[in-house]
């Protein structure tokens, strides 16, 4: 009666085997490595990069102990930290010949020292949180009301232009709070305005407001959809911008994620220079449009050393030098969007820019006066400018829709579009949470968490074995299996392990023993009542099951509530806690039963079991 069918034993064995495999990588520790990832959003890594890196290392006489590549990065394992630094320099020199314009991010990293066959089946060590490995965590709040106000200001300007173009007489257009107010003297003009606005955009909702017979107002508000689009756009663009900026820091595994509707989490493992990190996060890049000085001989003169007054010498993307006037025609504030696309006539790759109303007017005037000349689009960052592109103006451009084309590949077009969009933040951001953990504290936290769990486990193991004898030992093995499965599950899911997570691991082990105590006490009780050992084992497991299920479910309810509402440290705790409850159900019931079955299940005439003293009141 106390035998598991073969399939059940095999199944449990398989689960334990997989648990063991996926726990293994955690024992190997870490080795220094150099990680190469793309420094530009449009630069994709390909297979030839592996060869280039190997060649660079071979030329520098550096031996590596493994090269791994995935879609985002190439990692090279090396023997020591000295070699790591030399390898980084060698790779950096080969991949980024121009240090001012790096195409790749070459960063120092630590990689698991586990054998390649483990890595190839995706068995990785647990992913350690910042409090265990050290680093910086920021939570940034995107100023959404600011983004919407900015858009409304632009809308007010657009409406002014529209009214003028359509010859509608109004008595003033202003932004008040989240509305744009258009004033009119009479109802006819208001009706004309309404028609004109409805025809030009679907984003605005219009309502009438009559404050006096000669003070008629049209209130324009952004529709729900339009507001949502603005928000989505703002957060996406800010994330893109952050990505580009953080690439410069050379962080091996940055995390940049949206959290909630209007927040961005930035995690930079291993970064200690908080000031520099903040500087880079908070920096603003701007776009400028200027005219190119094409006076014959001026460029040659500038190259020879005498830059003409009122101009600056830049290198155009791609290399050729270019002389640009100091006077700024337009700034990036006037740009509302930039998208890659194709030229309608020639089908060449192109970038489509959208300017706001004021920008459109300026652009129309400037292009009308400078047909045939070149115009430079510059990206200014950290006070340093770069000419992204310098196209020839072919015709007067009105309407605020600008197209940049000519000698571009599709790749370059989307590159430029991204740069123009990502150059600046769509909405201002504010750091609302910052957490920095030094590397020594991280290592200490690991040691503390590990020791707590270890000694707690040892204490429980000793007690259980003494008190319940062989059944206690079975319980301890089940508990160890629980730990194994929990670590394997965390490694497999790559859930972030934090110090509260380690605490949850220890606590879950402390609670998980409850199931085995319940079972063992039940078996003792049955034996006390004079039931035969085999029947007692059977009844003990059967009867305890309901109680174990109930108590685990109530604990799981608390765990899930923490998971749903927790953030930061609480979430780290809750993930481990919930997973631990699941693995403990499996190990405490199935694994311990399997062991007991293997020990006693086959014996027909079982006289006694080793479960400690069975004390009867009569004795």
């Amino acid at each position: 009666m106390n035998r598991y069918p073969l399939w059940k034993n095999i199944l449990i064995g398989l689960v334990l085997f997989f648990g063991l495999i996926y726990t293994l990588p955690n024992f190997y520790g870490e080795v220094p490595a150099v990680q190469v990832s793309s420094g530009k959003a449009t630069l994709k890594l390909d297979a030839s990069l592996n060869g280039t890196i190997e060649q660079a290392l071979r030329d520098a006489g550096i031996e590596h102990t493994g090269l791994f590549s995935d879609t985002n990065s190439v990692r090279v394992r090396v023997a020591s930290t000295d070699v790591q630094l030399r390898a980084k320099d060698a790779i950096e020199k080969r991949l980024n010949p121009d240090p001012r314009d790096p195409s790749y991010v070459v960063a120092l990293n630590l990689l698991s020292a586990s054998p390649n066959w483990l890595t190839s089946i995706n068995a990785l060590p647990m992913y350690l949180g910042l409090d265990l490995r050290g680093g910086v965590h920021f939570l940034l709040q995107v100023d959404m009301p600011g983004a919407i106000t900015k858009r409304l200001d632009a809308t007010a300007a657009d409406l002014r232009t529209l009214m003028r173009d359509k010859n509608v007489r109004h008595a003033g257009i202003t932004r008040e709070g989240n509305n744009v107010l258009l004033r009119f003297r009479d109802a006819e003009q208001r009706e004309a305005a309404r028609k004109a606005i409805s025809a030009s955009t679907a984003d605005l909702q219009l309502t009438d407001r009559d404050d006096a017979s000669d003070d008629l107002k049209l209130v324009a508000t952004l529709g729900q959809n339009a507001q949502k689009n603005i928000r989505d756009f703002a957060i996406k663009q800010n994330i893109t911008t952050l990505h580009n900026r953080i690439n410069e820091l050379g962080v091996a595994e940055p995390v940049i994620q949206q959290q909630g509707l209007d927040r961005i989490v930035v995690q930079l493992p291993g970064v200690q220079d908080v000031a520099k990190a903040k500087d880079i996060l908070g920096r603003t890049a701007t776009l400028e449009v200027r005219l190119v000085d094409e006076t014959p001989g001026a460029l040659e003169g500038a190259l020879a050393g005498s830059v003409p007054l009122g101009t600056e010498l830049y290198n155009e993307r791609g290399g050729s030098p270019i002389l640009v006037r100091n006077q700024v025609v337009l700034t990036g504030d006037r740009l509302t969007d930039a998208q890659p696309g194709f030229d309608g006539q020639t089908n060449e790759p192109a970038v489509h820019l959208t300017l706001d109303a004021a920008g459109s007017r300026i652009f129309r005037d400037v292009t009308r006066e400078n047909v045939g000349k070149r115009m430079a689009i510059l990206l200014i960052e950290k006070g340093k400018g770069e000419v992204v592109t310098a196209p020839v103006i072919r015709t007067e451009i009105g309407g605020g829709r600008v197209q940049i084309s000519g000698r571009m590949t599709t790749q370059e077009a989307s590159d430029v579009a991204l740069l123009l969009r990502a150059g600046s933040l769509a909405a201002p951001m504010e750091i609302i949470e910052e957490r920095t953990v030094g590397p020594s504290l991280g290592a200490e936290n690991i040691a503390k968490g590990f020791h707590s769990t270890l000694w707690g486990f040892v204490a429980i193991a000793i007690f259980m074995s003494v008190y319940y004898m062989l059944f206690g030992l079975v319980s301890v093995i089940a508990l160890a299996a629980n730990l194994l499965l929990l670590v394997a599950l965390l490694s497999l899911l790559q859930a972030t392990l934090t110090l509260p997570g380690i605490a949850a691991m220890a606590l879950t082990l402390g609670m998980a023993i409850d199931a085995n105590v319940l079972i063992n006490e039940r078996i003792r009780e049955e034996l006390r009542n004079g039931v035969s050992p085999q029947a007692a084992i059977h009844a003990g497991y059967e009867r305890a099951f309901d109680t174990i299920l109930d108590s685990n479910i109530t604990t799981l309810i608390a765990g899930i509530a923490l998971l749903v509402f927790g953030s930061g440290p609480v979430r780290g705790f809750a993930v481990v806690h919930c997973l631990g409850i699941l693995t403990s159900m499996f190990s405490a019931i199935l694994i311990s039963r399997m062991l007991v079955n293997l020990l006693y299940g086959r014996r027909r005439k079982l006289e006694s079991v080793s479960i400690g003293q069975i004390w009867k009141p009569g004795n």
């Binding site: 910052e434 030094g438 504290l441 707590s452 769990t453 429980i460 007690f463 402390g510 108590s551 604990t555």
Partner: protein
């Protein structure tokens, strides 16, 4: 080995009133301290900046305080953390402060004081985040209570659900009372510990109630207090051993877990100790006062039998 050599059921219910009065007094005391002293909330809830630095040799705290005061932080709290070589500095948020620069300026000030401080940890929490965390914590607590009551009401009976949750909320309030009385820092991990304890000590009530249900079904002719006594007596060994084992783990955390886990483990310790007491000696009398009896309890089964007959 057997610790529990109990010959007869222990008459717990005879003293039910005494237990309830003890509970009531501790509960009222806890509420009193919560109301008068309040919780010493960590920077996560209040918002503000926390900087932890380590020195090679134990520094004087007074020069650090005065240096911070002169550089614009007169309200900075400076104290030792764990050892005399570790210093913790707390700075509340203020309207006029450029919050993003606080940690750098503090470090600069400390470096100017000397002693070569090593930055261990910085935590900055903006004012809006703190409020959210507090309300999220309250929501989590409500969800746990609701979930447990519904589950127990489904599995057992509403009387059990109500008494279990009252008994265990009483634990939660007492833990909070301890934190208020000793002015221990109440942080997010402590909140997690409190909620985990809530789930954990409901276990305890569940185990006892399971036995109560079983005894009602099996043994006829026992009065309700006798049934409760029997259920508690037959599970008491398991209760003590389980909690003892969990407490061993928590003790390991208290001893080896360092400052960060200290209050976490502390909350668990109090929770475990009061958990035993309340789920056994508070929940059971409550069930009795609420008028549990075999008739209402096994009613559905009876109907079924009649239908068969």
């Amino acid at each position: 080995m057997e610790f529990f050599r109990i010959k007869k059921d222990i008459p717990f219910m005879r003293h039910a009133l005494t237990f309830n009065i003890i509970s009531l007094i501790t509960f009222v005391l806890a509420v009193f301290f919560l109301a008068t002293r309040g919780l010493h909330l960590s920077v996560e809830f209040t918002g503000g900046t926390l900087v932890e630095v380590a020195y090679a040799e134990a520094p004087q705290l007074e020069p650090i305080r005065s240096a911070l005061a002169t550089s614009g932080y007169p309200d900075a709290q400076v104290q030792n953390f764990g050892s005399s070589r570790d210093v913790l500095i707390r700075l509340p948020n203020r309207e006029d402060l450029d919050t993003t620069k606080v940690s750098e300026r503090t470090m600069a000030t400390l470096q100017a004081v000397g002693g070569a401080p090593e930055l261990r940890r910085v935590e900055f929490v903006g004012p809006q985040v703190g409020k959210e965390l507090a309300s999220d914590g309250a929501m989590a607590l409500l969800l746990v209570i609701f979930g447990i009551v519904v589950y127990l009401a489904m599995r057992f009976e509403w009387r059990f659900a109500v008494s279990a949750i009252i008994a265990n909320l009483h634990d939660v309030v007492i833990i909070l009372g301890f934190f208020a009385f000793f002015q221990w820092e109440f942080s997010l991990p402590v909140l997690a510990a409190v909620l985990a304890v809530l789930g954990y000590s409901v276990n305890e009530s569940v185990v006892v109630f399971d036995r109560v249900r079983e005894t009602f079904k099996k043994k006829r002719g026992m009065t309700t207090p006798e049934v409760l006594d029997h259920a508690i007596t037959s599970t008491i060994s398991r209760t003590v051993i389980t909690h003892g084992s969990t407490q061993m783990m928590v003790l390991a955390m208290l001893l080896f877990g360092g400052e960060t886990l200290h209050y976490f483990a502390m909350a668990l310790t109090i929770g475990i100790l009061f958990g035993i007491y309340s789920s056994v000696l508070v929940a059971a009398p409550l069930v009795m006062w609420l008028g549990v009896s075999r008739e209402q309890f096994i009613k559905p089964k009876k109907e079924k039998e009649e239908a068969v007959v």
